[in-house]
Amino acid sequence: MSYFIRILIVQIILVVPLMAQNKQLIYGLDEVPQNLMLNPGGIPEGRFFIGIPVLSGLHLNAGSSGFSLYDIAASDGRLPSQRISSLISDLSDKDFITLTQQLELISVGWRKDEKTFYTAGLYQEFDFITYFPKDWATLAWYGNADYLDYPFKFNHISARADLLSVFHFGINKKIDRKWNVGGRLKIYNGILSGSSLNNSGSFTTRLADGDSQNIYAQDLNNANVSAQTSGLSRFEGNFTSSDITSSVLFGGDLGLGIDLGATYQYDDAWRFSASILDLGAIVHASDVKTYQASGDYVLEGIELEFPDLSQGQNAPPYYAIFENEVEAAVPIDTLYSAYTQWRPVKFNASAAYGFGPTAPGSVACNCFGKGDPYKLESEVGVQFYAIKRPKAVQTALTFFYVRRLLRNLTLKSTWTMDALSYTNLGLAVVGELGPINVYLAADHLLRYPNLAKARGASVQFGINVKLERR
């Protein structure tokens, strides 16, 4: 039975929300080649870059919208059951937990000419989100005795996890002095996927009112609950490292997507940009299982008939009949047909204002206004981020300040407000030592002295070899 309590605790911990894929520290930061992954229409620097395999882009992000680890596991003398009761009361079914991990395996970019820059590569991604199943956590924690007439709703169950690799090829084109546009084609290779989305119906216990011959009418109303998986059997049995390699390369479910982006340089000071990412879907066609239960049923209990039995005759198998009735009314089917899942599409936009002297290493003056806009030492601006999630679009607003301290050192600090926190401060450092480009970014810095009190944490790190333009 401890299984249930662990599931409940894991659900609670996992439902901590974070804008899991928001990379506000890297977006718009031209010094980091991976910036182009967030906006294919960004401003590419240099003539060539190649990421150090596996080390060029590591992104980890975890978060929760309703509580921190400290909220449920503080060693403050309170009983954990008191804290769990409070959380169940305080959280809603819109609260969520996310976990995202990305790892660049191959990343390369090269300039074709003054106006065209290509990027290509392969990265692996794991993305998980679960909403807090408030009604079912309530049922598990309290039971139904004090919840007569309350419909426990199945739409509170909503979770999705995807493990995939992504092959991509992008083109960045400089249209003129003001416009840069770009697009990227992505081929998704779905390794593992599981989801339970769009569930509906409810379970209610109420005093019978003519619709049940017993004391209660325990009503399963319009239940429609499903869980879809693909690729699970790949991880059964002896799973070797070569299986991982072949999984990351082609072998999973294929999908197609695009990224689009643009940057508009209004003048040397103002810059605007926007991008839309992962506009695409994966067709899960192999190793697919969909478990689905749907129907209506009023659970009355077992009706005895007191049949006239002769010696040696057994009573009717009431319990088996009851089970069969339930199974007939709410059949649980296993389907093997392919299904399509859209990727969680993301949107980024920013407005930046540069000021101060020209950045170290930049040309001192763009006096005729005809060359590339020159880079200023400081920038402030605002960024907007949105991601389509199963129950709602999640958004984040970021104010940032970029300071180019030396020719080879850039800092970006951010203040982000999202569903998790209004005080999320972050800092990115980009350094260049010769051709070596290194970046490190982290947010929720105010909580770093004790991460247990953070509702989220995010770290990005990468090393590239980057060659400047001749």
């Binding site: 039975m1 401890s2 249930f4 309590i5 662990r6 409940l8 605790i9 680890l69 400290y70 596991a73 503080a74 060693s75 403050d76 954990p80 059951s81 769990i84 598990a140 924690w141 309290y142 039971g143 139904n144 005795a145 007569l148 216990t205 049940s212 011959q213 017993n214 004391i215 209660y216 325990q218 659970l299 009355e300 209990g301 077992i302 009706e303 005895l304 008939e305 007191f306 006239d308 039995l309 002769s310 010696q311 009573a315 009431y318 319990y319 088996a320 301290l405 030396l406 050192l409 800092l411 800092l427 450092v429 490190l440 982290a442 770093y448 002295p449 004790n450 247990a452 944490a457 770290v459």
Partner: protein, 183 residues
Amino acid sequence: MKHFIIKFIGVSLFMATLGSCVKDTDLDQFNQTLLEPVVDLNLVFWEVEAPLFNNTSGNLPLGTVRDTTEVRFLDDPDTQDSVVRADFLFDFENTSDAEYDVVIDFVSLSGSVTYSLQTTISAGTVSAPEQQVVLQEIVAPEVSNITQAGLMAISAIVQGLPPNQGSLKMKSKARFYLEISGQ
């Protein structure tokens, strides 16, 4: 000065990233956490019309009816581990002019009675039914007798002559108090 700032920020970020920690929490305390849901369930229900008590064709004496059903969730190992109290509510309605002894036996799958409950239902009439509610609260350690059972056997025995009209009805529910350990 600039170098100092750079070094300071760099070292701070590095330390913050690698030196961050999780403090003042104790995940082991969840081992002592108890889920204590209280679950209400419908149980069995039935209605026996008066003529059935006059039936002599079966193997039961005149005026006696008996039936048995499996209740497999009771002796489920998870239930056995977690039920600390069980309240049973039996709601009778008698519209016949006879009085009944009702025996509700909880029986293990091997056939032995693990818990028995008896009550007498007073006579009523069709126009003025006799309503009677029996509430049985069973706590530990006695409740383990309930969770040993996989069957419920119910007998109703007429006291005196079987009735000619009316019926005896029973509805029932169970309230289980569970304690589910985090360990």
